[in-house]
């Protein structure tokens, strides 16, 4: 049974070396781009859009290709990605919460209680 499983793994997880080298190169380029965002001192919305885009692209490439999630069983992919979506929602909630906290702080420090 172990042998059968290994055979199955080989069929599904061995890929040509080219795809790894391509993704490797892309990761280098994307990292270089996100470093350039800081180097060129982009500020405000442009900075954040670029940083988050490069970050998500890198994370997606690593998970899909290097971690073989693209070829994985759909049930496993869903069991992993939905909790991560919940984390993303949590981040959005906490951004709103942070804005509210700093607003009340500034309000009471400046206007008084």
């Amino acid at each position: 049974m172990v042998m059968a499983e290994t055979k199955k793994e080989q069929q599904t997880t061995t890929h040509k070396i080219g795809i790894y080298l391509w993704i490797w190169g892309l990761l280098f380029v994307l990292s270089f781009f996100s470093y350039m965002v800081d180097w060129l001192q982009f500020q405000g919305l442009l900075r954040w859009t670029l940083i988050v885009t490069f970050m998500l692209l890198k994370a997606g490439l690593i998970m899909a290709i290097f971690m073989h999630l693209f070829w994985e069983r759909y049930a496993l992919v869903n069991a992993l990605l939905w909790p991560m979506t919940a984390i993303a929602c949590f981040i959005c909630l906490m951004v709103a919460e942070g804005k509210y906290t700093v607003f009340t702080r500034l309000f009471y420090f400046v206007v008084g209680g």
Partner: protein
């Protein structure tokens, strides 16, 4: 044995497979190596821990009235008397991505049963991880001994900077260190041919299999993945 393979070949793909996998008994992830599924579930729980750190950092930083220390200047390196912003962090990022690439190749050559190339790429990955930990130690000692950053305060600005920096990068560095130890062990096992002969491991006493290298690879890529988020949220913000 024949039953297992026939199940694997008759599995429905896509949404139908998703429904039938979760609606079935015994195992939820049909045809997925159990070690791989368990590593993924461990990594998901680890994702939650790292998210807690990063989200609490983000929340505190966003709600502070005091000025947050400017990472671009704090993590600058002097090259010929000129400070280059974030140079050390950029080098660390490239080292970690390089080691991620060598790890992917190690997994590939592992499945091709090429024990020499597999072991060599595992060794390269371990050396990359070791370089990363070394540079992190350098960065920490620079901040602690030369610039006086402490978990309770620092000379640059908001007092919370130190505690979040040491907590987040320290937890990540611990993961890298554990990974390096296992990479060295697995490299030795690969060179010795344990994965070909199915020699029993010293700890679990289970038969060695090249799947183990993919599982270790999942862990190592995850360490790289977390660094992508730390790099974006801690250093580039």
């Amino acid at each position: 044995m024949s039953e297992q393979t026939s199940i694997n070949n008759n599995l429905p793909p896509g949404f139908k497979g998703l429904a039938s996998d979760f609606g079935s008994d015994q195992t939820a992830f049909k045809g997925v190596n159990w070690g791989k599924a368990m590593m993924w579930i461990f990594l998901l729980s680890d994702t939650f821990i790292f998210s807690c750190f990063l989200i609490s950092y983000m929340k505190v930083r966003a709600s502070l009235v005091a000025e947050w220390p400017y990472p671009s200047e704090i993590f600058a390196l002097e090259v010929g008397g000129v400070p280059v912003p974030l140079l050390l962090i950029a080098i660390m990022t490239f080292v970690l991505i390089t080691s991620s690439g060598t790890m992917a190749l190690a997994v590939k050559y592992g499945y091709e049963k090429n024990k020499k190339l597999c072991g060599m790429f595992l060794l390269l990955t371990a050396l990359g991880g070791l370089t990363f930990v070394g540079m992190q130690a350098f960065e920490w000692s620079k901040l602690i001994f030369h610039e006086g950053v402490r978990p309770w305060g620092n000379p640059f600005g908001a007092a919370q900077f130190g505690s979040f920096f040491f907590m987040i990068t320290g937890f990540h560095g611990t993961h890298v260190s554990i990974g390096v130890i296992f990479l060295f062990i697995f490299s030795r096992k690969a060179f010795r041919g344990d994965f070909d002969t199915g020699k029993k491991g010293f700890f679990t006493s289970m038969k060695s299999d090249y799947v183990a290298i993919e599982i270790l690879g999942l862990y190592w890529h995850f360490v790289d993945l977390v660094w992508v988020f730390i790099f974006a949220f801690f250093y580039l913000w």
